[in-house]
Symmetry: C2
């Protein structure tokens, strides 16, 4: 049976996530009322996922609920912020309580894990899309922005690159990826603990959503620097490594995107400290290049030759060239 | 020429609205960074408008930019909150810089009027929809919630009811409404000054977005009370009054919605004070009924008879009955 909008909200949006004392009024009034701790700045980010653009029609709603929150939490991670609250604007072709129940299960599990409470929501009818806004705390002056990378610094990255792209490529070719690989695409883990550990050590950070070249490119543009990438140092899973060896094509780790690893810059003498800090939270770190004065990103092969790599990265509106 | 997503954001989302000192980092990084004044609570609300559901295809983008922000600011007004920041998630079928320029013009004009700064945005490709989240400040314990109406209190309303519904009805019938009437539908004014004036005097408030019966119904449900509405006291424009006289149909002011007036409850001995407070900001106020102990809303005609009025109000997912 179809439900009214208000029944939907009441039933599925109330009491979602970790109940927090700083939420004075949650879902169900004109606004939510929340309280930012004294002395903290508020970090805010919003992201939309659209069916057919950011995820396949028919994607498991539980996975989608996880991923829609994860990509937003990833933005907080890239700022070094601690997550607190989320709002959810869901546009659905029809009110389907089984679908919603499953979506909220995925959303809630991740929200609980990171002590996030859902404080507001809106449901509308239309083509399926999910807009989530997240809020987190960061002490004044401590946020990891994109504009403070300096020439001579090392470029670091968490995890491995290109797995989500490989999973997508296999699925586009009609092949079902292995479970772990599919999880990398459908259920990414926001690197929140890493962002927190980097807060006092890194000079800049970004999460890799649109591809390494595009996202490192944002740091370079904002900081008015360039970068040299050492391809032999890129952290790759066995599968992505094999794919590159067979095809000679580096686009998976460089431009495919959807990895949600953190890319950051650090003064060379802080590398050991960062390895220790990330080791403490069992987060893998690789040093993949150096910040340089000249604008642009240069990709070097193991034999020192510069290779041509697409400068693109995933964009929702491709430039007409 | 089509623009890349980043060029779109840079060009249209930067420096939008009133520049505020409490915005430490605006559009263009992983998150925005903002600062809530010491001792204030943060009010947060999110609303989505979908083409074909909340507005006609081909709606003037400047009007849409205004309305999408206005319906969100209206939620802050209904809490008695002072607006501060907004984020904007735009899903567009194509990147059309003329459309965007016009949309942002409508958004900016209203944002500037209420000293709101745009601090974050996301653009995605898909069926046209607009999701805006607004943030505002309200002192602890001062917010106008929906749960504190008490039997015996008077029910007040700002402005007039049913104009937006009449405009929509005329447009659906292929007729172009008069300019002022069309403005009531396409460019509603959020009653922010009224919300602020009501903050210390009203016991509860809501904005009329889904229709008076539905929205007053939310106050009644949350406060566990009912209401008696005196139809002869409903504030109506000449045109809506004529329409009711001719048709005998009260649905425009009762269930059509999209009015964005404030409906509120007050102890009887505060009515004069409220009239004085709203008079000071040139806001019309009408007393349209009484809060009662029995649940449900009863609509009384001028001769004291109870009339049957649809309990609905606009819902995005109609119940299957």
């Amino acid at each position: 049976m179809a439900l009214s909008e208000f029944e939907l909200i009441e039933r599925f949006f109330s009491h979602i996530g970790h109940p927090r004392e700083d939420v004075l009024l949650g879902v169900g009034d004109d606004c939510a009322l929340v309280q930012v701790p004294a002395g903290e700045n508020l970090a805010v980010s919003v992201d939309t996922l659209v069916e057919g653009v950011h995820f396949y029609a028919g994607t498991d709603p539980e996975k989608l609920g996880h991923k829609a929150l994860a990509v937003n939490l990833s933005d907080l991670a890239a700022m070094g912020a601690i997550p607190a609250w989320a709002t959810l604007a869901l546009t659905l072709p029809e009110s389907d309580s089984e679908w919603l129940k499953s979506f909220m299960r995925g959303f809630s599990a991740l929200a609980n894990r990171h002590r996030v409470q859902l404080v507001g929501g809106d449901t509308t009818r239309g083509a399926l899309s999910v807009t989530i806004q997240v809020h987190g705390f960061v002490p004044p002056g401590k946020a990891l922005t994109r504009d403070a990378a300096r020439a001579g610094e090392r470029i670091g990255i968490t995890g491995t690159l290109g797995d989500a792209g490989l999973a997508l490529q296999q699925m586009a070719g009609g092949r079902l990826p292995e479970k772990w690989l599919r999880e990398r695409l459908e259920a990414p883990s926001p690197r929140l603990a890493a962002g927190l550990a980097l807060r006092d050590l890194a000079t800049s950070a970004i999460d890799v959503s649109d591809g390494l070249l595009a996202d490192l490119g944002h740091i370079c543009a904002r900081s008015r620097v360039g970068a040299r990438l050492e391809l032999w140092n890129l952290p790759l899973s066995h599968e992505v490594d094999e794919h590159i060896k067979m095809s000679g094509d580096w686009s998976l780790p460089l431009t495919a995107g959807d990895d949600y690893e953190l890319c950051f810059t650090v003064p060379p003498d802080s590398c050991r400290q960062i390895e220790a800090a990330l080791g403490g939270i069992e987060e893998r770190v690789a040093w993949i290049g150096v910040v340089e004065k000249d604008p642009g990103i240069r990709c070097l092969n193991a034999d020192g030759r510069q290779i041509e790599a697409g400068q693109g990265g995933y964009q929702h509106f491709q430039s007409a060239k």
